[in-house]
Amino acid sequence: MTPLLQARGLTHRFGRVPALDDVSLLLRRHEILAIVGESGSGKTTLLNVLSGRLAPQSGDVLFHDGSAALSLAARGEIAVRKLQRARWGYVAQDPRAALRLDITAGGNIGERLMASGARNYAEIRATASRWLEAVEIDPQRLDDLPRTFSGGMLQRLQIAATLVTDPELVFMDEPTGGLDVSVQARILDLIRSLVRRLGLAVLLVTHDIGVARLLADRLIVMRHGRIVEHGLTDQVLDDPHHEYTQLLVASVLPA
């Protein structure tokens, strides 16, 4: 399968704390890769660097674009922002931080379409309405303000607003964190079916190995800014080799 995003020798420190310590990885097209680890393991920093939101102190991130593989640094800020607006998506843990609560649900979805060049108002509205339906929100809510939505609905709205430009790569930072368990199941199911249907590649950061097991093809386990173990999701979770992975797996309460 074709490579899509590649990290080589990423290193980044906050003061004396190494958040990333020589991290390399490869994400292929249509692949779901989960990054797991406790808080402070560097997984969110890794996501920020891979998605071009933070420049690493050393190492580079290559985005494979058709035949060319160019690093984000070589592409430059404007080109990276253009990728982020249309071909990449980012689903944050807190939808309230990612969405604009003072404009309508339809406006939140339409804004990203307009940022990537759409101009026809009726078409934008129709697309927004279709996407509300795709994330199981009543299209009648198109003109409602997100502040009238529940937490689960807000997360689904964020997913709609992210996927509306048909991105090929989506970054997700704890997409089900902070939600009720019943709502989590619905979001997971939704993410899984959309990812499958749209053929997305996903980089998913989570501390919940149950989420990783349900969604990810492959798994990376991070600790103290380093990758301590990686492999097929079921291999790493059923036959963990590293002491830290064994601790992670053993610490989960069976349902």
Partner: protein, 235 residues
Amino acid sequence: MIRAEGLDKTFTLHLQGGVRLAVLRDAAITVRAGECVVLAGPSGAGKSTLLRALYGNYRIDRGRIMVRQDDAMVDLAQADPQTIIALRRATLGYVSQFLRAMPRVAARDIVAETLLARSLEPAIAQRRAAAMLERLGIAPRLHALPPATFSGGEQQRVNLARSFVAAWPILLLDEPTASLDSANRDEVVRLINEVKSAGTAVIGILHDTASRDRIADRTLTLTPAVDDTAALEPA
């Protein structure tokens, strides 16, 4: 279809002070198309470990697991994740002891997914999934429900349907008849014999001796590696 040799597997339990459990030592198995080999041996002999190693779920320390994929032989022990995923899609089937499914996904969709992964038309996949569920005694009114609320036996039948809905060159079965009543056990035996006739190489663990005798061509008896008295049966 599958030939494994020289398999070693030792588990190092870091949380138990680094205890090392040698479970497989120089294990070997060869199974031809249309043949069924049943793994035997006492609890802790490594039956489940071997089965999981053959699926690429447990990573072996040493040895080769040669699997026929189309016209080539692939070493599963050396294969990259993409190759293993591709093998599991259409070559190497596995029936686990328990169903692990998405919370909200309907029984029929779980079963159909095996076929959708092989790019079958959704309508055809749904039809075949429904037919297999019915054959395993899951009434149509249950097909649209997520199996989380089903009984243990019903969940196991959904699990079986998920594998038996498609054809596999190699099928690995971990206690496929456990938690089933006799009528359903008979149906599973019939299914296994059908896929054998169609050329599937079957490797199974079955404690239920009546079913075992009706499907097995050979028995491979494993003995616990070295003198570890601690039995290690994976959960």
